[in-house]
């Protein structure tokens, strides 16, 4: 009995590892194939898209706006501004007139503010300045809801504030602005 156990265990460990490898390999092949076939497939090679979780197609649909251009849009009132930061940070300081859509409470926030945003209009989204931060995730969620003219504010709120542009909130360091 012990001899049979030793024999079987010796062969079985290799067989077990091989079968695990086969299951994972089959899953990898199917996963890569399905991902390549779907329109919104994620890029698997590093460097194709600078942020994880964004398809090439979607990334190509997002524009970028320097703070100066965003300031022009704000002055002309030709774009809606969306603040993707948590509500506490929005209360602390934000671009005047911006709608707060925190990523973690997106569904409820969007339902409350949907009437303020036109899917066909230009929407400038900003976050806390991280290049792959919550503003990008909110942009994805808005794109899913039919928004087509999305601009990501480069540098986020810190870049806007550093440019000396109007801000609004309980702790505004710059000019206290009025919603356009």
């Amino acid at each position: 009995m012990m001899a049979r156990l030793r024999e079987a265990s010796g062969e079985g460990l290799l067989g077990l590892a091989a079968r695990c490898a086969v299951i994972v390999a089959v899953a990898c092949v199917v996963a890569v194939g399905v991902n390549a076939a779907r329109l919104g497939g994620l890029p698997l090679l590093p460097g194709e898209v600078p942020c994880p979780g964004v398809s090439r197609v979607l990334w190509g649909r997002f524009d970028h706006a320097e703070p100066k251009e965003a300031r022009r849009l704000w002055q002309e009132a030709s774009a809606a501004f969306v603040d993707a930061r948590p509500h506490e940070e929005y209360i602390f300081n934000h671009i005047p007139g911006a709608v707060n859509l925190p990523y973690r409470k997106f569904s409820s926030s969007f339902a409350e503010n949907e009437s303020l945003l036109a899917p066909t209009g230009v929407v400038v989204i900003y976050g806390d300045g991280k290049p792959c931060g919550d503003h990008l995730r909110v942009a994805k969620l808005l794109a899913e809801r039919g928004f087509t003219k999305i601009k990501l504010l480069d540098g986020g709120y810190p870049a806007w504030e550093a440019g000396g542009y109007p801000v609004q909130g309980g702790h505004a360091r710059g000019e206290t602005g009025v919603a356009p």
Partner: protein
């Protein structure tokens, strides 16, 4: 004592060292209540674990971008590995779930299920250690409403781990496979 009672043991006595055969559940196919209870327990575990992994994979496959965001939030993997992991992991869950459901390669599939559950628990523990108590584990849904309390997630995964490890032990500890088995 009648002549019939005297002769009965000699006719009906089984071979003392006979090895019971194994079926796809990895449980010896004997007779009586013991076989029945073990067989049903293993079948329930197999189907239950398979359902968990298949269910967990569906929404991740539908929304790989959201799942990638959730993986990013754990801050464990480097950015270049997030997308490949988000794309492949749900299909490994599907493969393992199907193997368990169909009774194919049970030791290997239950070992992979055990390994994945350990991986999930390590990730949640890591998130807890970093102070992310309000965690989106990405377990069954990628929507933002799917957040859960991290300790509760650990308990749930602990139960799943116990079931996976038990199934692996039950299917792996028997050294001899019957001919033709896909074990």
């Amino acid at each position: 004592m009648t002549a019939r009672e005297t002769l009965a043991p000699q006719v009906a006595s089984p071979a003392p060292e006979a090895e019971p055969e194994s079926d796809s559940t990895g449980v010896p196919a004997g007779d009586g209540l013991r076989r029945s209870a073990s067989w049903w327990l293993n079948l329930a575990l197999r189907v239950g674990i398979a359902a968990v992994f298949l269910w967990a994979a569906v929404d991740k496959i539908a929304h790989p971008d959201r799942f990638a965001d959730i993986i990013t939030d754990y801050r464990i993997l480097p950015a270049c590995l997030v997308n490949p992991f988000a794309v492949v992991l749900p299909w490994v869950e599907i493969a393992v779930g199907l193997c368990l459901l169909l009774g194919l390669w049970l030791p290997a599939s239950s070992l992979l299920a055990t390994g994945m559950t350990v991986m999930f628990m390590i990730a949640i523990t890591w998130a807890l250690a970093q102070g992310y108590a309000d965690l989106h584990c990405g377990c069954f849904t990628t929507s933002q409403e799917g957040r859960g309390e991290a300790w509760g997630l650990l308990w749930r995964d602990g139960i799943l781990l116990a079931a996976c490890a038990w199934l692996f032990w039950r299917t792996w500890r028997r050294p001899v496979c019957p001919a033709g088995s896909l074990r």
